[in-house]
Symmetry: C2
Subunit: 311 residues, 2 copies
């Protein structure tokens, strides 16, 4: 009986791989540094295949113990064909039939999806969203992403790009965003934007969100205010999403969510004040539970559910 | 064989009833004036029952020819229980078990839903959205409503109130909205807002959107600009919805859509400029096709699909 899966979470910086038991327990993990392999997609694919083989063998398994491989990627993925159409932060990836290539090398079923979709899938089935039918998962990092579980299904949209919460405009005349839009939510709370803002407020270069978090922790009023303003933008964006989608749960994840403590009250207050009555009375806002492992676990769920025929 | 349904579209002003053939052809229609019956829910219910009976008999049918009755209502509906929880513009309606009451009086299956959901359902199955799997239907009137078809299903949300496109904020510091929010989309393009704005521009009271439409038709520059500004707000709201939901189609309906001619170019331009690449390249924006009959036809579809077990 094939009990395990391999979950892979490809990021712009690191690639995380996990050998996952059927229960969702991670048996072993390993890492690759993305940059090392970014000369050509072939290099990254070869490294992935080698790392997967090693993960299986070093843990006393064979491919017979593995139900399949799930891979999350930071970009545009054609889930049904198994192709990576484009990755903005990894050079050279355009229309790569990743599923087919890895399947033929490892002789195992492979399933691929967008990384944020897999975070949502992981949190839904194994994390903060267990048992819910309608939820929104938002990841706050360099980019602001989102995954939607609606009517008890992951909703990917017509072209697999639904969930772009970071590119809902917060202000019609707001600052220009890389995506071509104006006043996008990400333009107010993305990591780089927050670093620039912090540099201005605290008068030092390269001050990171976690530094402002540490300052806030020591009671620095400017730092507390910095997080309150950030939380107000997050709350305002969520008001639109909550009014539109009437979810039962909003899960907040990503690096910035480590500062949730300084934002929680404000986010809740904005939603209580501004969202519609029925919607706000039934929605819960919680922090993600799976942390760094959400991508691996979501990839594990993708394999399980794909093989069970749910996706 | 029961071929027909009765579709009922309850509005704040009028109630439209239709006898609908299985094909979706409306065989006969009738109307009630809502206000006449607003002293007590019982009066409206009795009038509805009488009108339904008359519609059946006057067209040479008996209840044996009727598969069921579908009713759309402008308010909060518990679709699964068949209860009207609240109607903001019809006094006295609070927690009324409408389905049960009408079923017991007419001995026919009854299904009820929110009116905008039924407009979306009608347009999806019989109108502009035929054959689509992911679409957003927006109704521009006194209020701005929306219905969502996602993954080939009507998406109603956890508490049956999803689709409130009118209450997505367009500006964080925008004008206060009745819903408690700030800068809601409806606050820029709702009928009353547009009338106030037109009164200011043209210096007369009670100038209606259709009057400004007539002026624009005669080439009045202020009127053309009025519609261009309205269209810009519509486009900006749609950018957020399109980025988030990645639909294949957006259907624009409601009274204001009669002025679509003066808004189409601007709406398209805003979306081309501001929406994300993959999303905007696959989305079509079209005008609703069913006009006044969308609610009746949506109610007809609700009956058909409910009896077939799809909802």
């Amino acid at each position: 009986m094939r009990l395990c899966t391999i979950g892979v979470d490809v990021g712009g910086t690191n690639i995380k791989l996990g050998l996952v038991a059927s229960s969702g327990r991670i048996i072993a993990k390993t890492n690759l540094v993305t940059k090392t392999y970014d000369h050509h997609p072939r290099h990254l694919i070869d490294a992935l295949v080698a790392a997967i083989r090693a993960l299986i063998q070093e843990n006393g398994k064979t491919t017979k113990d593995i139900a399949g491989i799930g891979i999350g990627l930071p970009g545009l993925v054609d889930v049904s064909k198994g192709n990576v159409i484009f990755m903005p932060n990894v050079p050279g990836w355009k229309n790569i039939p990743l599923r087919k290539i890895i399947q033929s090398k490892l002789k195992l079923p492979v399933f691929i999806d967008n990384d944020v979709n897999l975070v949502a899938l992981g949190e839904w089935k194994l994390g903060a969203g267990k048992g819910y039918k309608n939820l929104v998962c938002i990841t706050l990092g360099t980019g602001v992403g989102g995954g939607l579980v609606l009517n008890g299904e992951l909703y990917r949209g017509e072209g697999f790009v639904a969930g772009e919460i970071g590119h809902i405009p917060l202000n019609e005349q707001g600052p220009a965003c890389n995506c071509g839009g104006m006043g996008c939510f990400e333009r107010y709370v993305g990591n780089r934007i927050l670093m620039d803002k912090a540099a201005g407020i605290f008068g030092k270069e390269n001050i990171r969100p976690q530094d402002v978090f540490a300052l806030a922790n020591r009671g620095n009023a400017l730092a507390v205010r910095f997080w309150r303003e950030t939380a107000t933008h997050i709350g305002n964006a969520l008001v639109g999403v909550i009014n539109l989608l009437n979810p039962r749960l909003v899960i907040i994840g990503g690096g910035i969510a480590n500062n949730y403590k300084f934002m929680e009250k404000t986010i809740q207050k904005v939603i209580r004040r501004r969202a519609m009555k029925v919607q706000k009375n039934m929605v819960r806002i919680v922090r993600a539970r799976l942390g760094d492992e959400a991508g691996i676990l979501g990839a594990h769920i993708l394999v399980k559910e794909s093989i069970l025929g749910r996706y």
